[in-house]
Symmetry: D2
Subunit: 328 residues, 4 copies
């Protein structure tokens, strides 16, 4: 083993996601379990550059497993994208005696860690934390399962109104590049149509589907639209389009926005975070570096950072078919 | 007593609200209790004109006390605003033998009922169902308490993200004419500032409040804005304004929209709906007409429709002061 | 004014209740608003005797408005019931320069404060915090509204099972001396029968009610039983009794227990706590002492401690009638 | 293909679980999609024997995807365990022209289906619906994910009280034969110790763990106990044992009971149910019979009934280790 690790830093980076706190807790306690010191790094790479560290022991992380957000806070750092910024960060880590870190975040955060590792031969390990589930090398990212539940609960509420008033709702959910959230909440909330970044089903199909839905006796309809929907129209444009072409529908729009990112993590996300934290720390301790921890077929797994950031997370096309059948 | 009532109709009208189903259930079961026949009228006054009635007994309403929306559906009816439309509605009611009705809705619905009562001397009673709590003659409308809980839960989620990223959020909540929701969720969710239709606190005060908040060490802020905020700017304009004047803040916007109207009613709304249904039916049975049932000081009360629709529901100004103190 | 107050202590005492943290926050921030120092007293009177105090400023209470339990912790203190114990507590307060305190708790806690006030002429003020709503001088205690929602949500879940299996459930809810919770959740969850400490409706009536319910076509039934039910039988004894006398029912029992006391407070409880904290501190500042803050007809009010602890909180008998009608 | 299937029956059997309604909906709509008639069979095998069938079309199952329990109701049938009973059931199915059925339930229900298939060469397919996740051939049964979330939310509430009062709680959760729920909620809710049917960790270890926990500065503790815990003591006996041996702890007990089975299904369970319904019907249509649909590595899979009922569902022992590390 090249590095004998005695102090591990942990940071959260990029957009926050439910389960990040549970992962921080797990990293800190796994360090305590192995008699390794652990330092929290505040505000992502920004705080690394500023040397904004705090020592954490097992008790520092009590009562956070069920809290949304991240107690270490998060930020995007422009400075860390520069060689100079990273050098300052390295100096800060060395000064504090930190000799490895675990970064909880998305692919941007992993790219940063990978570059940092290459430049300074510094041991790093990643834990995927983002509600979008858009990372290669893990079937689930932290926060994804929670976000699915948050969104279906909100759509259930909107459906109360939709069906009371015989209305059509376009509901925009997160997912700029991948349709995981849209596809699953669409099936889970019984949406009539699901628009995702991966497929351009076309506006004609949408109209036809709505007409068929109306004809079959449905009095209200929900269409779930991922932010990055391939058709390329915003929910507001879709509303206008449908109202022009199907005057029988009263159309409403809802953009769910940031609430999708918050909330107490689901049991699945808490357990996943706990497992990933253990795996990340113990992988560093046996000399591994430059990997992202993932879950595959309910087992912990490691994926090299370069594959994780280059790879593509694929949606399950079976679900599109299930959705079609469900809206018969 | 002028009318001996044997068949009572019940309808929901205007925007739906949690607790409407519990109120329908209560009307139906109170009729059953007094051996009166009860008819559900679908789609508000629209369905009254169409004669879209269904007989309901005690078992027809099982399993709905905890459901959002309205099983009778709701609609706004242009036709009912015409003398001709109301004549058709009257003929339909007579044909079906319905000799009184209870309308669950807001002030527009009550105005309709009042006019109808005047024209045909037809016994009517109202139950206030709207999340806005903007009706005179009752301290609480059905759905208001539920909406408060729905909104604070959503803001709690957004705060997870806000505080993880040191951001400022403008959150638009319902309330075109009154600030009840904004004021209560603002205090309940710990908002730094609350903008309501009743008061123009001014943009300067907003900036100053945010600056003081920042200076006092707060890293994130939530500003709750009622739809009908007196300043007259949308949350998007407010975002632009603050970003221009306080570059230290990263501002985000969230428009909560329709989800505020759905969801399973709170215990308070279920109990209130049950009490109001009993009161409405039993008031009709003792010959009362043209009143809205309300709650005042935890007791059932009747307010004549003309007062209910003309009066103003006042916000509790004490809460504005409490909010100021809480954001010290 | 006899006392010029410069330092106020705040403690939580007795069983915890949702909203206690929001009340602590309000007391602390109202002190900050008036430039008064505020000290948190840990573990109720126990910590007062131990001098377990910590200075709190506006930032100390951030992020707690939506948390259940109490960050100051709570305990019951035998020692404070002795003259000697109270003398030690007094000495500790004097030593720390604390010249008034606000106690958040139930009637036992208020009795302690009242005696302490008499012995040492020490300014004290109370905030009613208990889910039972059993305190005279306020229509709502902190935590009560939240507990109602918690319980109806649980009963909704149990009803899913009850109606899938045609079963009868006896569900025990809190309420040793008063039936507020049982009565309201009973109506709110659509229970067939409600057993409370205030009325001995008799076992015969229970059987008859269940028989009528069965005959009317209901396939499942929920009976809500307050801990201190007047009939004097536990839910387990009731189960046995009904199974012996009505073999057609498969009976199950659920004792809800401590979960009723936890959870994030409802919007109502958060707002109430905020208002009560302001009122408690500002009452002390104008020289009032020995009162409990309460809410009556949506306005803040003060009740002398001796009345608060001697008086009786009455249930609304109208609700029993509403329940009877709803189970027609 | 021996059977050309034109009418498919669907029933729910055994204990109800969240997601059963979503599965019924999926079976019904998949039939509609393939122009097959579908019949709902009420009250499990009991209703099959009674010929309690109802034809269902796509619209019959609207609005149920998010409802707990089962609209078809469930029951355990003694009669179906006899050859005579099954003969009557077969005659009823034939009379109604039903030529295959899908049973949603646990291993007892599958055993019944398997025997029925052998006796009458009748096409049957199973969907695993039980919160216990104790069925071989699928990593997840319907309702399991929902139950995990329900339980961690309740434990979160109990922890509010536990930590406010420095108490130890023993919480009994479902799991007579397997520890899936206990293990996952134990990790997810941050329990100090987890007692499961698979391992007898011994009472000494429990005491030691609690002592270590106390020594490490923890002021409250949660111990999660599966119903079928190997130590063989009830939560009440455990309480007595600990109170005798560790007088420093005030111990409380909570038996969660039936509420674990109800509630609106999680997004995961709704999607899983939708997929399983499609797979079950389409498997019947291509001539398969006597299988249980399952999910493995996020793909639909079939397991012969005899393996499903004989096999054992194994817990993930990695989680026990994760739990140990988390309670350092």
């Amino acid at each position: 083993m090249l590095h004998t690790i005695k102090k591990i830093g942990v940071l959260t980076s990029g957009g926050d996601a439910p389960g990040m706190n549970a992962a921080i807790r797990s990293v800190v306690r796994t360090c305590a379990f192995h008699d390794i010191k652990c330092y929290g790094i505040y505000r992502g790479y920004e705080g690394m550059i500023d040397g904004d560290f705090v020592e954490m022991d097992a008790r520092s992380v009590k009562g956070i497993i069920n809290k949304g957000g991240t107690i270490l806070k998060s930020a995007r750092s422009k400075e860390f994208r520069t060689k100079e910024g990273r050098q300052v960060a390295y100096d800060q880590l060395k000064k504090a005696g930190i000799d490895a870190f675990v970064v909880i975040g998305g692919d941007g955060s992993f790219t940063g860690a990978m570059v940092f590792n290459q430049e300074f031969d510094f041991p790093v390990m990643g834990i995927p934390g983002t509600i979008d589930n858009d990372i290669f090398g893990t079937t689930h990212t932290l926060g994804y399962d929670t976000a699915l539940n948050t969104v279906v609960e909100v759509i259930d509420k909107i459906r109360d109104t939709a069906s009371s008033h015989n209305r059509l709702f376009f509901i925009e959910v997160m997912g700029r590049d991948v349709g995981h959230i849209a596809l699953n909440v669409g099936v889970g909330a019984g949406a009539e149509e699901i628009l995702i970044p991966e497929e351009d089903l076309g506006l004609d199909r949408l109209l036809e589907s709505l007409r068929r839905s109306k004809a079959s006796g449905k009095s209200s309809s929900i269409v779930v639209v991922a932010e990055g929907d391939k058709i390329g129209k915003s929910v507001f444009e879709l509303k206008d389009y449908v109202e022009e072409n199907m005057s029988e529908y009263e159309v409403r729009v809802s953009v769910l926005g940031h609430m999708q990112r918050g909330g107490s993590p689901s049991c699945f996300d808490r357990v996943l975070a706990s497992r990933m934290g253990v795996k990340a720390v113990e992988s560093l301790l046996i000399g591994k570096s430059n990997y992202m921890v993932g879950i595959k077929n309910d087992m912990m797994d490691l994926t090299p950072f370069d594959q994780a950031v280059k790879g593509k997370s694929k949606i399950n096309m079976e679900l599109l078919r299930v959705s079609d059948i469900m809206t018969v």
